[in-house]
């Protein structure tokens, strides 16, 4: 069972992915034109280039948001089982939050939260 199943899986994965690309190459008629290669923006005509640089602040905000989001994800399982886990777990969670708070202080000091 085991080995042949993996073999079948590998072969079908290769055939499926390569076959799709190959079929696309064989079946599609390629007639590129300027209009076709424009970025599709809901049918509205595009203005300027699509190669725009976004303000780095967006990324910084998103990253910091992500850290605290993940922190909350860690807190949920603890909150559900808080009564059984008792004081030790509470202290551990406080240490965890404290370390993240230090990280927040660092980010603040580095000016990651200032909009430029």
């Amino acid at each position: 069972m085991g080995e042949s199943a993996i073999l079948v899986l590998i072969i079908s994965a290769v055939v499926f992915s390569a076959g799709g690309i190959l079929a696309g190459k064989l079946l599609v008629k390629s007639k590129p034109s300027k209009v076709k290669s424009e970025a599709y923006e809901c049918g509205v005509q595009t203005i300027g280039k699509s190669w725009v640089q976004f303000n780095v602040g967006y990324y910084l905000f998103a990253l910091i948001f992500l850290i605290f989001d993940v922190e909350l994800v860690f807190l949920y399982p603890w909150a559900v089982a808080a009564k059984q886990l008792g004081w030790v777990a509470l202290i551990e969670v406080i240490i965890f939050l404290f370390i993240l708070f230090l990280g927040f202080l660092y980010a603040h000091k580095k000016g990651a939260l200032r909009w430029m």
Binding site: G2, I6, I99, L102, G103, L105, Y106, K109, K110
Partner: protein
Amino acid sequence: MNTLITVSLLGIAAMLSEVFRFKKFIQTVFIAAVTGATGLAVLDWGTSYSYFRFMVLFDDYALAFSILFLVLTLIWLLLSQEYFCNENTRADYFALISFSLAGAIILSSFSDLSMFFIGIEILSVSAYVLAGSNRSDIRSAEAALKYFLPGAFSTGFLLFGMALIYGATGSFNLSNISLWIIANHSNLPVMVNAGVVFLITGLLFKIAAMPFHNWAPDVYDGSPTPVTAYMSTIIKAASFAAFYRLFVSCFSIMADWWTPLLVIAAAITMIGGNITAVYQNNLKRMLAYSSIAHSGYLLLAVAAINQLSKPAMLFYLAAYSVASLGMFTLVNRMGNEQQLDKLKGFAHDNPFYAALITLLTLSMAGIPPLAGFFGKYYVFLSSIRSDLIWPVIVAVIASLIGVYYYFRIVYNMYSKPAASAHVVSLSGFDKSAILITALLTLLLGIAPALIADII
């Protein structure tokens, strides 16, 4: 354990130095903490305790490698003084270095697959950022990207391997996995074999062994030189420590099955790395290829997997890392263009340090009685004990090729300078770094038992 906690707290302290304005003293704090952590590791010597519900196990192997990483970091600080000059980024760099050291210590002490993964991620993520830390140089950014993409890719391989191993054995714990494999040795499910292959692939990526080495030359070349020195010594040593620890504690019973894979990778790496290094005219790139070639010799020690391979690996890594830190001190002084021609006339201006660098070069080439020779001797000995005869012959041929390009460095140092050429000059810190590494190389060469007999 105390070592790991000290180093992790040091990373947080380095970040806080930005907030509480003790950035000026962060280097002093760093040296004190790393020295202290080394001391704590020495104090724990001979004990073997498990922490965090069998997540990490600090035995002599883990402690020996932790001490190696910390001592190498202290030497490394000498050659990277200018890297920490910028007030704005100094705290960040120290924090990243501390975190990657913590990752390295975890990699030498894990006893659970999840801890192995966390260690390798802490180590790599800091290294990705450090590779791109020279923000004004586009090649540094390129190096960071080229390091990050294959790194992330290889992490995928590692995770897939771990998932398959977990699926077969039902445990992340190394000793449980080992027990399960011993119990089911006669008919192992193919999942275990597939998992081992994925783990090997991921780890070969991390240690830059052929055929998965292609990221390494560009990354080593593009990163700031101190970071390259850090990557090719401490990070490489940590990856090897993890590789051996994982395979000796989990899969040694099925060694017959995976040894050929490693031996073939080792043979290609030794020959390929050394031959490619011959054609390099850039010293930094040459050292990158030589570091790939050294991975090959070390892989032989992992493949041999007997009592001798542990001390062989530790000794080889110590000898290689010390010598390469000395070499990178020289590269660091060569500025942005590290052509070999730039070395011409170096011996005329600094006869003493040229002699010391010649010594380091000879050690890397494996000439007795220097440390590099005994590193190779131990590795070959342990391979021969495991009946790996033809790989040792390949390794000897490869190191003969190596002698050629190492002598090109010496040749260039002792040639006459081209007219109006700018000759490389050394600062006080550089001189002490070269002196210390050369002394250590000599000491380990004269008394190899100092390191080889402790584990």
